[in-house]
């Protein structure tokens, strides 16, 4: 076993220190070391996107990122999006438009949608479908997922604020 390395991550605004093997995947640091089990492992081959988190604000697959690569970075997981009393517009969209059935893929889909809306706040339906190419949902046929993202885009533009993640912004300065 190779020597463990010290890594510091800011996860959902909170600074966390870990000792990890270089080969540990970020998704396992989040789930196993930090107990943030909202991020799921689906295919584990960089296809399905269930493990998607925001790394320094951009949607990435945490099963294809080493924890050591994320040293010093800000990570936002689905737990950092919002809570039951204050849903993120994307979460609200999935609630209102019934954007899930079994829910396994949903955290990754939502984090990908946040990453998409950050760069394209008013996407067309086609752009939403293209943007969600890297997530696989085996239940819904995507129709309501697309509607959920459209809802989030509309809601956000009505509020006149960018789709951002409150918790990530309040973290320590890296």
């Amino acid at each position: 076993m190779s020597q463990k390395q010290h890594v510091t991550l800011t996860v959902n605004g909170v600074k966390r220190s870990l000792e990890v093997e270089p080969r540990q995947l970020l998704v396992h640091a989040l789930r196993d070391d930090l107990g943030l089990t909202g991020t799921h492992v689906g295919c584990d081959t960089s296809q399905c996107g269930a493990c998607t988190v925001l790394l320094n604000g951009e949607a990435v697959k945490s099963c294809t990122t080493l924890t050591v690569q994320a040293d010093g970075a800000e990570v936002t997981t689905v737990e950092g999006l919002g809570d039951m009393n204050d849903l993120h517009p994307v979460q609200e969209g999935f609630w209102e438009k019934h954007g899930l059935q079994c829910g396994f893929c949903t955290p990754g889909v939502m984090m990908t949608a946040v990453g998409l809306l950050k760069h394209n706040p008013n996407p067309t339906e086609e752009e939403i479908r293209e943007g969600l190419e890297g997530v696989i949902c085996r239940c819904t046929g995507y129709q309501n997922i697309v509607r959920a993202v459209q809802y989030a885009a509309q809601k956000t533009s009505q509020q006149g604020t960018a789709v951002e993640v409150a918790a990530a912004g309040s973290g320590s300065e890296e």
Binding site: V60, T65, G115
Partner: protein
């Protein structure tokens, strides 16, 4: 899936990376975005003893305009390339190809240099590198080297990168003024990789005669290739639907076309012809 064990080190300069590569005696791999290397390591198709993380090497990031082209740093992500106003203006086929690599999350991590040095036979960017006659700038133990795109890709997962070297950047040449370019792709329905991908660059003079034609084709052969048969058939002819149809028949002549479980050799040859014609038709319509 977890890879076998390895040592990990982050470096901050190219010189440091080369020094570490040398010291590891062939056991080390460079790590950029990791989106080609880490999946291979997880499947244990690759088991390097050491990863040298170059992602923090500042000099390898960014896009610079030069009189004859755009120099794209090896660590520039596909997302950055695809959204760069300079790339979209001067090298539209590069922006289009970068926007079709993998998916949104992959494009946020995957890098131009990583993609080209991995040299997957179905990767999008080699076609564009050929069509824009790219130069690959490499730093070796002995200094700098320049490799032409056509001599860079040797076979599946095989490039002309010298031992213990780091790709610094790639210059994509801006084609003659008045040129048009496009990237046309048939993605594999499951993997998204190119079954065929055609990068086409064409310039015509005031009499609509083709003065410059460069066609790069990826996915169809064991390695991306220049479709010189198509280029030769176009140059000197009026750029018309008839010229496109008679040139496109040569689209698979310059590659070692092979069949696999998904597409037979004959089907791939047909796709090369049909989609080269479609790419050229898009340029005709622009």
């Amino acid at each position: 899936m977890i890879s076998s064990t390895f040592e990990y080190e982050r470096v901050s300069t190219v010189a440091e990376a080369i020094e570490r590569l040398q010291a590891a005696g062939g056991e080390a791999k460079l790590l950029a975005g990791g989106h080609s290397l880490l999946p291979m390591m997880k499947l244990r198709l690759a088991s390097p003893g050491k990863l040298i993380d170059i992602s923090a090497v500042q000099e390898l990031h960014g896009i610079v305009r030069e009189p004859d082209g755009l120099v794209v740093g090896a660590l520039t992500t596909h997302a950055h390339v695809a959204s760069s106003p300079m790339v979209r203006e001067y090298l539209p086929a590069l922006a289009q190809a970068a926007s079709k690599v993998g998916d949104l999350q992959v494009r946020n991590r995957g890098t131009l240099g990583g993609n080209l040095s991995h040299a997957d036979m179905a990767s999008d960017l080699p076609a564009v590198a050929l069509a824009y006659e790219a130069e690959v700038y490499v730093v070796t133990m002995d200094g700098e080297e320049t490799l032409q795109a056509e001599e860079f890709f040797l076979g599946p997962l095989l490039t002309a990168m010298p031992e213990n070297s780091v790709m610094r950047s790639v210059k994509f040449r801006t084609p003659p003024s008045g040129s048009k370019s496009v990237y046309e792709k048939v993605p594999h329905p499951a993997s998204g990789y190119a079954v065929v991908g055609i990068a086409a660059v064409v310039a015509v003079n005031e009499d609509n005669v083709v003065t410059h034609a460069r066609i790069g084709i990826t996915g169809a052969a064991d390695v991306a290739y220049r479709a010189r048969g198509v280029e030769d058939a176009l140059i000197g002819k009026a750029f018309t639907e008839e010229a496109i149809q008679s040139a496109a028949v040569y689209a698979s002549d310059d590659g070692m076309i092979a069949g696999d479980l998904y597409a037979s050799e004959a089907y791939r040859r047909q796709l090369c012809k049909v989609h080269t014609a479609r790419a050229l038709r898009k340029l005709l319509a622009q």
